[in-house]
């Protein structure tokens, strides 16, 4: 029993569930709930992104584009076309999945910095389209979005949204852990470890690259949809280059190829700007310095580095 609790699966899921359940007792006001909801949504995107970048070894500097497309799909379909929010969310996810599937084959052929350029370009094109198609998206000023509703029930108040996002995060972590600890997860890591060897072991490398690209894009899209209904507003910056960079930084900071790393990275980088507000004019400078410092001194990321330290100590 003790051994099972110490595994990332059971023990980690349990610990995360406890943290999510207990946290509201320590959050003094709505502002903190708000930050935690954003942490949860970012974490969901980062888990998908980590499957792509950390496990399969394929970099993406454009994932905010998929987040933005999900967000705008929900915004436009519900506000302009009066779709039910859940249908808009699913349609957005399906659309983003199809788009990702269509571009995945040529994009996933690229390697290293060429792949970085390709994904970056894709993200920027998406954000420029969202900015320029003013009639559809409201342009640079963004557009308002109605609240969420499902079967007549409309979540309202930060606490309700907190539980929704907390539940979604827990579900995402569980599904992601399932993938990682399965033949699919091993195939993804094999693609990262050596494409030549993966292929000779019978792994269809292209298939798994496309698969993980689509999965990560769909997760980003769903998080984007939930995000707009919670915030009630959306601007093109959600799809922008800076947001893409924030997402990949969360993943690397928390730890590549670590599901919990994605959660920790999202938690730190989402709350850090709030904590740094006391720096006022020095905020951006401090943020950049922390980013560099952590990467220079902990290049493997927080969670894998800590895990290794703990393991060496208990040995």
């Amino acid at each position: 029993m003790r051994r099972r609790l110490a595994t990332p699966r059971t023990g980690g899921l349990l610990a995360l569930a406890v943290v999510i359940a207990v946290l509201p007792a320590f959050l003094p006001n709505n502002f903190y709930f708000d930050v935690m909801i954003l942490v949860g949504l970012n974490a969901i995107v980062c888990i998908g992104l980590n499957l792509l970048v950390g496990y399969a070894g394929q970099i993406s500097l454009g994932h905010a584009g998929f987040f933005g497309l999900g967000a705008y799909s929900s915004a436009i379909l519900t506000s302009t076309y009066d779709w039910p929010p859940i249908a808009a969310l699913l349609a957005g996810a399906a659309g983003v999945g199809l788009l990702a599937f269509a571009v995945a084959r040529p994009i996933m052929k690229l390697r290293g910095h060429y792949l970085a350029m390709g994904t970056l370009g894709l993200g920027i094109i998406i954000s420029i389209i969202l900015t320029q198609e003013v009639d559809l998206t409201g342009g640079p000023d963004g557009m308002p979005v109605y609240g969420f509703s499902i079967l007549g029930w409309e979540p309202s108040g930060v606490l309700v949204w907190y539980w929704i996002v907390g539940g979604l995060l827990l579900l995402t972590v569980w599904l992601a852990l399932n993938i990682v600890e399965s033949p699919v997860g091993r195939a993804l890591r094999a693609v990262h470890g050596s494409e030549a060897a993966a292929q000779t072991m019978g792994v269809d490398v292209v298939h798994y690259k496309v698969l993980v690209f689509v999965v990560s894009a769909v997760l980003a899209s769903i998080a984007g949809s939930v995000f707009v209904h919670y915030i009630g507003f959306v601007t093109p910056s959600e799809a922008g280059f800076i947001h893409s960079i924030e997402l990949i930084t969360m993943v690397v900071l928390g730890g590549l190829a670590s599901i919990y790393g994605a959660v920790v990275g999202a938690a730190i980088l989402t709350t850090l700007p709030q904590l740094l507000t006391f720096l006022h004019d020095y905020e951006m400078l401090g943020f950049g310095a922390i980013m560099m410092g952590v990467m220079i001194f902990l290049p493997r990321g927080l969670v894998p580095t800590t895990a290794r330290l703990l393991r060496d100590r208990t040995r």
Binding site: P183, T200, M201, G202, V203, L211
Partner: protein
């Protein structure tokens, strides 16, 4: 019928013909060796046969069926597996998981069942872990069962690649310099391992520079020189073939 047949195969890199109108056959069963000086095209031949490179012309037939130009993962499904001259270990996994990747074709590798962690996926994973541990013991790596791949010494990684290749349940196993970089004692163990593999009915083709290993283990030897087949036959025949002695064994012949 021959298990592997190669018909007038050619491959060039930037005008440099590495494989030049090469034809050869490998019959079912036993251990075969391909020898030849550096640059003779041995590794390129392996890369062509396993589908990593596509030939410019010529045909490759596995058990009578044409496989020219098939992707490596399709070749794996047809029963071909290999190891690499430059180690291609998945260093981001444990030794056991490396071997389990080799079983990819023998399990349900679809996305949805994996994501939902269906009970049969969990059961099959446990079985595979068991089988993988068995393969690690088979190649003499019993102590590596709980280890990360990046913590193993070089000699163990060579065996790990063999265990991983065996996990695909190959009919034809290509070993690219399995003894390179190993000391004489380790080379002797690889010798034993190759014989053990051959006894299970797997056809082994070996590229190797260690002549003692080649002569000791192989029943049939193919000599490659500048991308063409120079000679073939038993160890005894090769040893006394004047072309081979002239082209290749000149300075190394004394080891024979």
């Amino acid at each position: 019928m021959s298990l592997l047949a190669i018909e007038s195969l050619s491959k060039a890199f930037g005008g440099n013909r590495v494989i030049d109108d090469l034809s050869l056959t490998v019959r079912q069963g036993a251990v075969h060796s391909i020898i030849g000086p550096n640059g003779a095209g041995k590794t390129t031949l392996f890369n062509l046969v396993s589908g990593i490179y596509t030939p410019e012309s010529g045909r490759i037939l596995l058990d009578g069926a044409e496989t020219t130009g098939l992707a490596p993962y399709r070749m794996a499904a047809l029963g071909l597996s290999r190891t690499f001259q430059n180690l291609q270990i998945f260093f981001n996994m444990s030794a056991l998981e490396n071997v389990m990747v080799g079983m990819h074709l023998h399990c349900d590798s679809r996305f949805l069942p994996a994501m939902l962690r269906l009970p049969r996926i969990v059961r099959r994973d446990a079985e595979m872990a068991e089988a993988a541990a068995g393969l690690l013991r088979f190649v003499g790596l019993a102590e590596a069962v709980g280890a990360d791949a990046d913590s193993l010494p070089y000699g163990a990684l060579k065996r790990l690649e063999i265990a991983r290749a065996l996990a695909t349940r190959p009919r034809l196993l290509l070993l690219d310099e399995p003894a390179a970089g190993l000391n004489p004692a380790e080379t002797g163990e690889i010798d034993d391992l190759i014989q053990k593999i051959a006894e299970t009915g797997v056809t082994v083709v070996l590229v190797e520079h260690d002549m003692r290993l080649v002569m000791g283990v192989s029943e049939h030897i193919l000599v490659l020189d500048r991308g063409t087949l120079l000679a073939e036959g038993s160890g005894e025949e090769i040893r006394h073939n004047p072309d081979v002695v002239a082209a290749y064994l000149g300075e190394e012949g004394r080891y024979l």
